[in-house]
Subunit: 438 residues, 2 copies
């Protein structure tokens, strides 16, 4: 199917740079000024195919999934269907949107599409996340952070190569791209060596360039484990993710139970859920895992995706974004399937629409030093704030995020067949902290 699909063309026109050709077909939830009810859609070119409207039309007759799945304010019902149904629906959509589809000349065609980028179109959270977990799966990020905090000799913790280190996050503060992020106020130490904290706006506000992946299909029951092979089938889709982090709050609070408020004030995801099938052409070898992992984590068929990810900052009042980093989805030591399998291994149920994050994805170093252009966090890029760097001509001393900074993560890859597959944008702007009135 991959080959057939890769040569498909659609009656919807778009150019070779467009991240949403017929080979992509990501799902999202949108509303319009004319119809403010959030509803599922699929992106193609500069349009959104309204799946709610489609499900009420004659064109839905050959759908392998019932209409009520799409007559819902988010994609939860679709995420809960069986993976085989996702594949069948993807095939149905590909046929429906292809160049020779009857839909091309249907009388009701215009009622089924809305403009994707118009100001009259608004994107919403694609699923209602039940539980959200963040991993720490990039070797390079863990190594870079370890060197900065503990030095080269002790950079990697003893457990890191044996299991995908992760922690539970807060689902309630996962927000869709475009949602402003308020600089948090929290307990920090004013000066090194202080023992009495102050309560103040975060001074070390950071981003983390990540991939989020959304579980789907049947829930696992209490006590049920998945193998990596089983787990892989449950990946409903992937999104770009910015795990905003307050480093100074983190440093003070995280002993001994891990990050808490420093990581839960906002996590931004891109609105379009890209199906793994769309990324098939970009499969690449997974990391060599040394020492060998325990049997329950072995994932011989595992792979990565070779998809470049970029992160750029636009200071308030600046016209342009300045790129800080170019990383890649492939910079994950652990496969998504291994992360899910590990997560299930003690038996906590995983439910459809649960989301997991990869952790910051940073690229390999050069000659034993970090590659400054491939670092997914400011913690790494500014060496814990000790090495200001030049963002652009107007900001030659960048360390941490400033109020008004907009962060944009993008992920797009071109094929030799002449099309592009992308995630769209994951964007958020830092609002100034609010302190109580004196």
């Amino acid at each position: 199917m991959t080959n057939a699909a890769s040569s498909s063309t659609s009656f919807v026109s778009y150019d070779a740079e467009c991240p949403f050709p017929i080979q992509n077909l990501p799902y999202g939830v949108f509303s319009t000024t004319a119809n403010p009810s959030p509803r599922p859609g699929v992106a193609i070119g500069d349009l959104i195919l309204d799946l709610d409207a489609l499900s009420r039309s004659s064109h839905f007759a050959s759908s392998p999934i019932p209409a009520d799945v799409f007559q819902h304010a988010n994609l939860d019902k679709l995420a809960a269907r069986e993976p085989a149904e996702w594949a069948a629906f993807r095939s149905y959509l590909t046929t429906l949107l292809s160049s020779n589809s009857p839909l091309k000349d249907a009388a009701d065609k215009d009622t089924l599409f809305v403009p994707r980028t118009a100001s009259s179109t608004q994107m919403h959270m694609p699923v209602r996340i039940g539980d959200y977990t963040d991993f720490y799966a990039s070797f390079e990020h863990a190594y870079n952070a370890g060197v900065l905090i503990r030095g080269k000799e002790n950079a990697m913790q003893p457990n890191w190569r044996h299991l995908p280190v992760g922690y539970h996050g807060r689902a309630s503060s996962v927000v869709v791209s475009g949602t402003p992020i308020r600089r948090p106020v929290g307990q920090i130490l004013d000066k090194v060596g202080d023992t009495q904290p102050i309560w103040a706006p975060c001074r070390r506000l950071d981003y983390e360039l990540e991939i989020g992946f959304i579980y789907g299909g049947a829930a696992t029951k209490l006590g049920e484990r998945l193998t990596p092979t089983e787990a892989r089938e449950h990946i409903f889709g992937l999104v770009l993710m910015n795990d905003w982090s307050a480093r100074d709050i983190q440093t003070w609070e995280y002993v001994p139970l891990g990050p808490f408020l420093s990581k839960n004030f906002g996590t931004t995801i891109s609105p379009w859920i890209v199906q793994p099938a769309a990324l098939d052409p970009f499969k690449t070898a997974k990391y060599v895992q040394e020492p060998a992992v325990l049997p329950y984590l072995q994932d011989d068929e595992g792979f990565g995706f070779d998809v470049p990810l970029t992160l750029a900052v636009r200071p308030e009042n600046a016209k342009e974004y300045s790129r800080i980093a170019t990383s890649n989805m492939k910079h994950s030591y652990w496969t998504y399937a291994q992360m899910i399998a590990h997560h299930s291994s003690t038996g906590a149920p995983i439910n459809p629409s649960d989301m997991m994050g990869s952790g910051t994805l940073s690229g390999p170093g050069v000659d034993g030093n970090p590659n400054d252009d491939a670092l997914g966090s400011l913690l790494e890029r500014s060496r814990l704030g000790r090495q200001p760097f030049e963002l652009n001509a107007d900001r030659k001393d960048m360390t941490w995020l400033r109020d008004g900074d907009s962060i944009k993560i993008e992920g797009v890859v071109k094929t030799k067949d002449g099309y592009s597959i992308g995630f769209g944008e994951c964007e958020g702007t830092v609002l100034p902290a609010v302190l109580p009135a004196a």
Copy 2:
């Protein structure tokens, strides 16, 4: 209102030991063999008043809350109402169930009550928890654990007295009392000093005696903070909680991001949500907090509840439970209101039906040593497994939990007015680990 209510009597009869008199009125979700749909109810004596059935009867005419709130599979809709409505509904129920209520002789009375303890009655999760957070709020527990891990000099971490340390947990594995808990299989170190983990059934399975509290009322918005005074109004109710813990998995996995799989394989709560109003007569002074906390955490009106909590173990095939610990709700350094206020302080939304846990509640030591009868975990009771203790005549070498052990937490308090207020039971039995077929 408290005084009037404390002298109330009901037409439902129960004795002075019954934890569910008319002064309590906890909410739960139940089903019966005759009607297997889970629905809200309120416990009184040995009966459950079926709130779904009540909402469809003439007796509901004077209810201050609409009927559809109770025609639902759980208490989420009630938790989302305003606190003033909870109070009004409590008052309505008190009148409805009082000795001189017309309900006493109503023709349809028998259709509104079901037996609470009959085998035909089953309890379910009372709310659908969105996000679950566990704190570490007992000074004695933190101190005891700190002494065992780091020694007396460094027992308390620098941040502990400045903020309620907490971490995000997994909502999907919070289960109602009576649900068996499978011993987890996970990565552990076989021997001290090993660097290569094995994958094996947990050998250091523990309980944690806690109180869970459920948030209700309006959700906080992204970026919104609550003061402790505001937060207190949002406590919909309290439950007993057992935070099952795998200490060996925890020790290996928790660096640097905190407990993950070691704490997410099962968290048991009691089925009855006790309203704070029912605990009013048991208010007691809160801990003296030294040094003074930062202004956003100041809770001058804060208090604790003086309610004894017991924990007992019944080994497989044993007839009786053997009590291990008698702790108390009051053994929390931080008030629930402070925990919620801290949680909201960086702006992560808190939604109705979200649950937070107090952390293990252990009582004060004696002469600088732990009080063995007041310790809320086996980690403390067995000194990390180094000091086996006598549970009963058949088990003189207790350290960690064994397969088949049932753990029961209870909380009940008697007043001088001659009635008791209790939570009922929080019970769970350890099932043996399951390894994949060879």
